[in-house]
C-alpha cells in the first residue's frame, strides 16, 4: 500500500511541504466545504469508533495499560458524543449569523459567515491519544478544513491504529496522519498552516507558537498546570473523596491535564480527609493497588523516573501517608498521598501528571485562594464546600481554564462549555460549537444599498455635513432632524 511505502522514507521538510501543497490543492477544489462531505466524514469517524472499539481498547491497553472502562468511557464514548453532537448541530453552525445594523451604516444588512480556515495541523498528546487526536479533528472537519493529524509517538499503538483506521475510513485526499517524533513534528511545524491545534505541555507549546509566528498562523494551545482541589469542612467527605479519587486515579492514573494535582485543606480537616481518602482508595483499588486492573500504568520509564524523583526528594519522602509503592518492571506506582509537603519541593513546582496527591494544609481556607493565585493559572480548579460565600469567592477570584464546585473533571463532558486554558494553561478553547469556531474564520459581510449618505461622508467638507455626521454617529433622531433642517 502506498501508505506503507511512505513510512520507509524519512518524513522531512520536503515531504512535509509537498503534503501541505497536496492538501491545499484538495482544499482549493472545494471538496471539504460542502455539508455532505463534512457529514460523511463525521459519520466515518463514528463508524470507525463503533466498529473498532475493541481495537481501540487494545491499543490503549498496550500504550497505557488503560482499563477497558476508561477507554470505552473517556475515549471512545466521548469521541462518539462529539461526533453526534456535531452531526446534530452542523447545519445550524454552518448558517451565517444575521446581525443588527445601526444608523451608522443605514441602510444595510449584515451577517457573520463562518468559513473554513483551510489546511490545519493537529498535534495530539499521549495520555488520551484516541480522544485528543480525534476530538479536534471533529471540529476541523465540521468547519470544512483539510487536516493533518500528528498523533503522539509516546502512545505508538494508538498512533499506528489511527494512521491505519483514518486511512481506511476517511477521505485521504483531505485528511492525513503523519506518524513520528521530534524530526517529523519539526518538519511539519516549518510549514505554513492556516491553524495549528496543539495539546501537550507549555515548553513545546512555546515552540509551536514561535513556529506559527513565522507564518502568522493562529494557534490553539491546550496545555496544563497544577489543578488544585480546595476541600472545606461541613461537607459529605465520603462523596467528595470518591469524586476526587475517580477524577485523579480513575483518569489514566493521574496522568490527565485536568486531574486534581494537589489538595488544599485546613489543618483541622486534614487527618480526617486522609482517613476517608485511604478508605475509599482501598475500596476502589484493593489492598494491593499495584495489582489492580483498574489503574493505568505510568506511560514510560522517563515518566516513571520523573515521578519517583518527585516522591523520593528528601524534604518530601517522609511526608507519604499512604501508598508510595512502585514496581519498575510494571511501570506502576501505587496511589500515593503526601501530607504537608513544603511549598518549595519539586512535587509542588511542576505538574505532577501521575498518581501522587500532595495535601497542603492552611489555618483558614481563605488562604488557599492566595496560594492558588500566586502560581501559574491552571487548566482547572476545584472546590468542595457547602459554604455559599466561599463558593462565590472561589468562582469570582480563582482564575483557571474551568472551575468545578463539588466535583472534579466533569466540565470536560459538557458540550456547551468551552474547554481550554488561560495564561500558562493555554490559548483558545474547544468542544461543541467552540470546536467549530476554533477552526473557522468569522467573516463580516455587509450589504449596503446604493441609497443613503453618499455625499455627507466625503469632501468637500462643510459645517452642515459635520453637524449631520455628529448626529448620525450619535444616533439621536432629533439631532439628525435638527442637522438636516437647521442652518447649513
Amino acid at each position: 500500500m502506498a501508505g506503507e511505502d511512505k513510512k520507509q522514507q524519512p518524513f522531512d521538510s520536503k515531504a512535509a511541504s509537498s503534503l501541505v501543497a497536496e492538501l491545499r490543492g484538495a482544499f482549493a477544489s472545494g471538496t471539504t466545504r460542502s455539508y455532505q462531505w463534512r457529514e460523511s466524514q463525521l459519520r466515518g469517524l463514528l463508524r470507525m469508533t463503533d466498529e473498532h472499539e475493541q481495537d481501540i481498547v487494545a491499543a490503549l491497553r498496550s500504550d497505557l495499560g488503560k482499563p477497558e472502562l476508561e477507554s470505552v468511557l473517556y475515549e471512545a464514548a466521548m469521541l462518539r458524543n462529539s461526533c453526534k453532537f456535531a452531526l446534530k448541530e452542523l447545519q445550524r453552525w454552518m448558517m451565517p449569523e444575521k446581525v443588527k445594523t445601526s444608523l451608522t451604516t443605514f441602510p444595510s444588512s449584515a451577517e457573520i459567515v463562518s468559513e473554513p480556515l483551510g489546511v490545519v495541523l493537529i498535534i495530539s498528546a499521549w495520555n488520551y491519544p484516541y480522544l485528543l487526536s480525534l476530538d479536534p479533528v471533529v471540529g476541523a472537519i465540521a468547519a470544512g478544513n483539510a487536516v493533518v493529524l500528528k498523533p503522539s509517538e509516546i502512545a505508538p499503538a494508538t498512533s499506528a491504529l489511527l494512521a491505519k483506521l483514518l486511512g481506511e475510513y476517511m477521505d485521504s485526499s483531505s485528511i492525513r496522519v503523519v506518524e513520528g517524533a521530534v524530526p517529523e513534528t519539526t518538519a511539519l511545524l516549518e510549514q505554513k498552516w492556516d491553524k495549528i491545534f496543539y495539546t501537550g505541555n507549555g515548553r513545546v507549546g512555546r515552540i509551536v507558537m514561535a513556529a506559527a509566528a513565522k507564518h502568522l498562523t493562529p494557534v490553539v494551545l491546550e496545555l496544563g498546570g497544577k489543578s488544585p482541589v480546595v476541600v472545606d469542612s461541613g461537607i459529605n467527605l465520603q462523596i467528595a473523596c470518591r469524586r476526587i479519587i475517580v477524577g485523579k486515579w480513575g483518569n489514566n492514573n493521574g496522568q490527565a491535564c485536568i486531574a486534581s494535582d494537589y489538595i488544599i485543606t485546613t489543618k483541622d480537616l486534614a487527618p480526617k480527609l486522609v482517613d476517608v481518602l485511604k478508605n475509599e482508595l482501598e475500596t476502589f483499588y484493593g489492598k494491593n493497588p499495584l495489582e489492580s486492573k483498574d489503574l493505568s500504568r505510568i506511560v514510560n520509564s522517563d515518566h516513571f523516573t520523573r515521578l519517583t524523583k518527585l516522591l523520593d526528594e528528601d524534604k518530601v519522602s517522609k511526608k507519604v501517608v499512604y501508598g508510595g509503592e512502585r514496581d519498575p518492571t510494571k511501570l506502576q506506582i501505587a496511589p500515593t498521598i503526601l501530607l504537608d509537603v513544603p511549598r518549595d519541593s519539586l512535587i509542588m513546582n511542576e505538574e505532577i501528571f501521575g498518581p501522587l496527591l500532595p495535601i497542603l494544609t492552611v489555618d483558614k481556607l481563605e488562604e488557599s485562594f492566595d496560594i492558588i493565585n500566586s502560581g501559574a493559572k491552571p487548566l482547572a480548579a476545584y472546590i468542595f464546600t457547602n459554604d455559599k460565600k466561599l463558593k462565590e469567592h472561589f468562582v469570582n477570584n480563582v482564575s483557571a481554564g474551568g472551575l468545578v464546585v463539588n466535583d472534579t473533571t466533569v466540565h470536560l463532558a459538557v458540550h456547551a462549555l468551552p474547554f481550554g486554558g488561560v495564561g500558562e494553561s493555554g490559548i483558545g478553547a474547544y468542544h461543541g460549537k467552540f470546536s467549530f469556531d476554533a477552526f473557522s474564520h468569522k467573516k463580516a459581510v455587509v450589504y449596503r444599498s446604493f441609497m443613503g449618505d453618499a455625499a455627507i461622508r466625503y469632501p468637500p467638507y462643510t459645517n452642515g455635513k459635520l453637524r449631520l455626521m455628529k448626529a448620525l454617529l450619535g444616533g439621536s433622531i432629533l439631532g439628525i432632524l435638527r442637522a438636516l433642517f437647521g442652518r447649513s
Binding site: T104, A212, I245, L403, N406, A444, Y447, P459
Partner: protein, 487 residues
Amino acid sequence: METRGDFEVQLEGMREYYRGGNTRGASWRKSQLRGLGRLLEEREAEMNAALEFDLGKHPVESYRDEIGSLIKSVNYALGCLKGWMSAEKAKLPLAAVLTTAEIIPEPLGLVLIISSWNFPFGLSLEPLIGALAAGNVVVLKPSEVAPRCSSLLANVLPAYLDPKAVKVVEGGPTISEQLIQQKWDKILFTGSARVGRMVMAAAANHLTPVTLELGGKCPAVLDSLSNSWVREVAVQRILGSKFSACAGQACIAIDYVLVETKFSSTLLELMKVWISKMLGENPRESRSMARIVNKNHFFRLKTLLEDPNVKASIVYGGSMDENSLFIEPTILLDPPLESGLMQDEIFGPLLPIITLKKIEDSINFINSRPKPLAIYVFTHNDSLRKRMVAETSSGSVTFNDAMVQYVADTLPFGGIGESGMGNYHGKFSFDTFSHHKAVVRRSFLVDFWFRFPPWNDHKLQLFRSMYLFDYLGVLLTVLGLKKSKQD
C-alpha cells in the same frame, strides 16, 4: 527616560493593582468609559489640531474616522456593559441532574495595546475601550510616527482615566521591542505583518495570546451597474474611501480596483470628474486630503511610481511635493502586476485600475494573492454576490460601499492569514480582552454509584446506556434485565 528596571517596577505595580480587584467592578469600568467619553468631548479641538499637525487631516475627516466613531463605541460599550459582564448559562444534558453550568467572562489582567500612526486616536482608544470594559489594566504604546497625537494621549489620558490602571508609554522601535519582551496577559497589535510576526514570536515566549490587526491589498470589484446615478454613487464611494481617509494610508482603504475592460474608460472619466468635485482644485489647501505621514513613506510611494512601466500607466495625477509631503490623487490604468505597486500594500493615494475580460475573473485574481483585510464589491448581480462571499476569503466583504464595516458595532473587525488574527469592535473587543471561564456546580446529593471503581462489565454497560441517553437501557441494566455487550 525610564530604565528597564523602573519600567518593570511600574508593570509590577499595575499587576498588584489589578490583583487587588480594583478594576473588576462594573462601576470602575463605567467610570473609565465615561472618562473616555468626556475626553473625546472636551479635547476634540486639541485632537483635531494634533491630527492636522501629524497628518494634515481636516476636522471633518478626523471626526468621521476617529472622534465620532470613538464616541459611538464608548456609548455602545456603556450601554452593553452589564450584558457583556454577566455569566452565560450553558445548556446541560438531561442526565445532569442538580448541576448548573455557565460561562463567566473575566479580565485577562495586564494587557498591551500597540497602536498605529494613521488613525492614531482610533487605533489606540478603540482597543482601550474593550480592554477597560473587560476589566483589565492597560499599557498603551501609541505610534511615534504620529508624535503630536502620541504626546497628547500621554498627557491627557491620566487626567480622564485611572492612572494606576492605564499607562501610556511613548517611544520608537526600541521601546516597542522592550515592551513586547515583557510578560503580558494579552497583546493587541495594529501594524504591519512584518512587525506582527515579531510581536507574536515575542508573545510565544510567555504564551501570551495576541490579536494582530494587519493589512494587505484590499481590492474593489466594480461590476457593470444599471444606471448612471448608481455608477456615480459607486465612484464617489470608491474615491471617498481611497482618497479622503488619510489619503489612502488605511488598512481597509481600497488598494486597487478591478473592472471589466469595456467599462474602464467610463470609469476613468467618472473618476476624473468626481475627484475634482470632491477634492477640489487644490486638495492640499482645502485639506480635503491628508498628507503623507513622513519622508520615509513619501519616498516609498515615490519609488513605486518611478518604475518606468508604472509611470507610463499613470492616467491622472502623479504630481508630488516633497516639502509638503503631498501626493495628489493619482490613477493608474493596468500597471504591470509584478511591479512593487501591485505587489506591496500601497498605503497611499495611488489607485491602480486593473482591467479584466470578465468581472468573474476577479475571483481568481483575488484568490491568487494573500488574503486581504477587506474586499469591496459593487454589483447588482446576485450570483456574483454569492460567489464572492463563498469563493474568496478576507477579513470582511462589503457590498456597494467601502470602509463602513469599521463603524458597525455588531461585526467582528479583523483579518485572516497575512491580514491578521483575532478581531475586535463592539462585543468582540470585550471578548478579545476576556477569558471565558467555564464553571460547573454540582450537588452532593446525586451521583451514579457505578461512577466509581472497581470496574466490571455491569458498570460498563450502564455507562454505555447513559452516554447514549438511553434511560430505559439504564433502568433495565440496573434491574438486571439487560446484559452487557460482552455477555
